[in-house]
Symmetry: C3
Subunit: 223 residues, 3 copies
């Protein structure tokens, strides 16, 4: 278990290094896009390192609560949504603060309700979980309607790139609450090793994979 | 007690829905004003729901500390001040970051000192409380002098609307530390049911009521 | 020990008052520079007051952990870096968000790793500490290369002022992890009274002293 988390830490470090190297030759993509892409794996790798060191979790009621995951998510998921928003508004001088604010507000809300759900039992757990799911639905709505419209009306190329990136994000983000619900935090149907593995593999794709896809597209547009 | 908090939750949900419906026809008011008005009752309703679920408070030294209130306030009060500032700067392209920053800084400081005061006893409690009151005085000073000047010099109509809204906010915000001081968090003169009721009724007016008043005025100006 | 913290509190209050008086006659320096300079000692003084009141520390494993220091730093160090960045970008209309974001991200990361290091033992402590040092190296790199370049290419005068201010900051900031490592939080080579005194004297220079130096230079440029 500890080894897996160290491997994750190393992958995140390589990801951060890769985005740093890319940023040396920005190809018309604003530098803050790289800053976001670099910061996300640094933060997440450190959060998982705390688990690898035996610190980022608690044993409670015969169950292990990995609170470090929420510490990871509460910072990285707003940044991922910020990156996606900035992609959609790539050609806009004035960024739409109403959309960015709504996304980040709903997202922080979602992660906090998930944290409370993980520490709750019985009916309470599922009430908090449901609120988190509602927030996720709102996030997906914003991504697919108002935000997508900004991208598609900006340019055809950007619209295509945005739709691809948003689809990628949507698929992975839906996997999180599913794994959570099936695992020990929720119904407890899957074994804890499955849960552990899922939360190692998913974030590699939804963080480093996402940024690779997003930056590659923007670099093509920026040239 | 739990019923009251559920009722509050429902009122907040209705408030959020109402502002969402208003935002469908923005009438010249920037969309972020609606985003703020919608987010405030969502956040506050959830905080009170945690009390209704039996989670958002602690029993300590024969006293109940509703820490969920501070979790509510630390997010919603900066947003209320942000909404008020944006109202004052309605006609300004460039928002005054010095004023918004001071208001939010003083406000977060005020709520944190209140939280520490609630967990402290004896002289310590009143030292923390006094610091919070100083912060509130600074907030009210900024609202009534520099911020009001921005509004009144922008347009006569806006000046009137701003003064009305600021007065409404001031009256309710002064009620909070008063109720706090008289109730079990402070001197313990009023019964805990009075305190509980006050902290159900006050926020309905200072959140949903405030946003109704503010948005109605802006919509009249925006037309 | 308590007396020393009260003295610190009073010095910070005087500092805040001094910057407030300066702000009455801004001399061409934007008002947010003063807001930052005023807020820093207010926040820090309050954090140290919590130590003076016997609340801002914990006795753990025969050692005193002053967690209030981290509460101080997590807010004041980003503001110090923000002030330095705004100094470098004094003549720029459009502030460089990539640089400001990187500095603040690395800084919050550094303070959090320091907090965790203080609560950890043995090898874990030094792993967290090392991560914090890496973050500090990144911060210093950004200050001395990209940020300094912005200042020096803006104007010769500004370049000189920036270099002086950045050097002052660098010297004090390097002192923090050194004192930390030698003191009871780290190797425990120095006595706790030395540590306590150092963390009273250092922040006076790195907060109030820094802002005096920075504002004086900007006021000369602004005239
Ligand atoms: C809806 C929902 C959840 C969603 C979590 C998500 C969507 C996490 C995404 C994480 C990412 C993308 C991490 C970084 O790569 C929780 C909190 C599990 C439980 C509560 C309900
Ligand atoms: C001055 C002061 C306080 C003020 C609280 C206020 C002003 C709260 C406002 C809340 C609102 C408006 C909530 C949302 O509607 C405390 C923290 C009680 C105690 C410390 C001193
Ligand atoms: C590198 C490093 C540290 C650096 C702390 C610094 C640089 C603090 C600066 C504080 C200031 C300037 C306060 C306000 O005046 C810690 C957290 C001690 C320990 C972990 C490693």
């Amino acid at each position: 278990m500890y080894t897996l988390h160290w491997i994750y830490f190393i992958i995140m470090a390589i990801g951060a290094l890769y985005f740093y190297l890319l940023s040396r030759n920005p190809s018309g993509v604003p530098r803050y896009e790289y800053v976001i892409a670099i910061f996300i794996p640094c933060w997440s790798g450190t959060a998982y390192m705390s688990i690898a060191l035996g610190q980022g979790f608690l044993e409670m009621n015969e169950r292990t609560i990995y609170f470090a995951r929420y510490l990871d998510w509460v910072v990285t998921t707003p940044l991922l949504l910020l990156a996606l928003s900035l992609t959609a508004m790539f050609y806009k001088k004035q960024k739409d603060k109403a959309i960015i604010g709504s996304l980040i507000g709903a997202d922080v809300f979602m992660i906090l309700t998930g944290l409370i759900a993980d520490f709750s039992e019985g009916a309470q757990k599922y009430i908090w979980y449901s609120l988190g799911v509602i927030a996720l639905v709102i996030i997906l709505y914003i991504i697919w309607y108002p935000l997508r419209q900004i991208a598609t009306t900006s340019s055809e190329e950007l619209g295509k790139h945005y739709t691809r990136t948003a689809l990628y994000l949507t698929l992975f983000w839906i996997a999180y609450p599913t794994v959570w619900l099936l695992g020990p935090s929720g119904l407890g149907l899957t074994q804890s090793i499955v849960d552990l593995l899922a939360f190692i593999i998913l974030p590699i794709f939804s963080k480093v994979g996402f940024s690779i896809l997003d930056l590659a597209g923007l670099r093509r547009l920026g040239l």
